[in-house]
Symmetry: C2
Subunit: 238 residues, 2 copies
DNA sequence: CGGGTTCCCTAACAAGTGTTTGGTAGGTTA
DNA sequence: TAACCTACCAAACACTTGTTAGGGAACCCG
């Protein structure tokens, strides 16, 4: 819970000290969630900055000003969208990480969990992908940077252990591998549509199959191992 | 050359029909490129919509209005950035595609070429990644959608041929594989910094190694082939 | 010298932006 | 019935945005 976006509390632009009595407006949480859902959809489709508050209100069937009965600001809308998503995501991740799995199984579980989150929060994930870098400069969104760090530690840890135990290749740059894993998983949010041909689990399985075993068939791999030694010597020796 | 962004020609907002004599201003192309370069940098860092024309001018050491001596509009700046990037990209791609390579070699060459383009146009690639979906709704940026189609045909073609020839696995959803390939290559633009530890060719090599052969070592793959038959039967049989 | 060209500045405009204020219909409670 | 609360509207405000018009300094060319 990185932010306390209850009720109205004006981010304090100016000309208004907190000498006012507690405003007694209490918007219903269900309505909030409804509005946040449509807002997330528009943000994901148009981009945060390109989305006007009037457009969101339009989509929700009301006028721009009415949104401010439920929310402090446009900013606090993305804030709530992103933070609730990340909270749920880390709940799932922490469960995986605490299960005491082996490195390969950890990676498999993390990937599968990620695709499940995309299935449930595809709009939020898309927003996270596009705007997180830009938003995380503001102190309000510091938890984005923090989350990035936790990602890195979790993935890199599993990869390093895997290399140590011999279940992952040792000849690859582990940080490169981490970035590829991380990015490819999350960009799926840009094309994934829930209720499509593939379930999140099926996508995870295919994705893991590619990343773990490669897109080259075994026979072809073996054949190449036999015939390509010389060329490898030419390019790889310093 | 999808757009003719020469000189000034006011996109025709209003109150100005083209009854005026040919304006004789001729900004130097070199200065244009300089300005476009800094503009691209800011766009990539902040996002297109979040970037104000004043910020670009600031970075270039001049005032907002002065930019309009060189460019029609903010929009035509991204336009020129993206279109020149795509032109160069397709010059390289077409060369690869016309070389009559085998499917695996085509994929290798396309990936390598892509990372070279990222090395040269990282800002443009980052912009393309973030804004292309949003921009391509406008007719002016129709060439973005067109380019997307060409991408798909090129990659899918190579993958299909590869499956037919037995150099790529037949048990994978080829469209999924395409999306993974495409996305992972281009997201690299978000973290790649030219002059860093790895050359574009080295990154391409590592990336191809992962995608083609997987991150699991051969012995481990073989071991799993032997021991995991039952579990595969359980999950994969319909 | 004087005309022309290149490149930028000053200063403003009009449209669009997020946000606030005061009001009010309709339901619930006392 | 009266008081209250929820959820919205109507209308505006302050500010930022992209963009334009006119001018001027520096330089080149005759």
């Amino acid at each position: 819970m990185p932010n306390s976006t209850r009720n109205r509390a004006s981010t304090g632009n100016s000309a208004k000290k907190n000498s006012e009595k507690k405003t007694t407006v209490t918007p219903s949480p269900e309505r909030r969630r409804e509005l946040l859902s449509t807002a997330a959809e528009v943000f994901a489709a148009q981009g945060y900055n390109a989305t006007t508050v009037r457009r969101i209100a339009d989509e929700a069937g009301m006028l721009a000003g009415s949104l401010y009965y439920h929310f402090d600001s446009k900013e606090s809308m993305v804030d709530e969208i992103l933070s609730t998503f990340l909270n749920e995501l880390w709940a799932g991740y922490d469960e995986v990480l605490g299960a005491g799995l082996g490195p390969r199984e950890t990676v498999e579980a993390l990937v599968t969990e990620s695709f499940r989150e995309i299935d449930r929060h595809r709009a939020a994930v898309a927003i996270y992908q596009k705007e997180s870098q830009h938003l995380s400069t503001q102190p309000r969104f510091g938890y984005l940077t923090e989350s990035r760090g936790r990602f890195e530690r979790a993935w890199l840890g599993a990869l390093e252990r895997g290399v140590a135990e011999g279940v992952f290749r040792a000849d690859l740059d582990i940080r490169l591998a981490y970035r590829f894993l991380r990015d490819t998983v999350w960009v799926a949010a840009s094309w994934y549509r829930p209720g499509g041909l593939h379930s999140p689990e099926e996508i995870a399985r295919q994705y893991l199959s590619m990343v773990l075993d490669g897109i080259t068939p075994r026979e072809e791999q073996a054949r190449r191992d036999r015939t390509q030694r010389k060329t490898q010597r030419q390019t790889q020796r310093p």
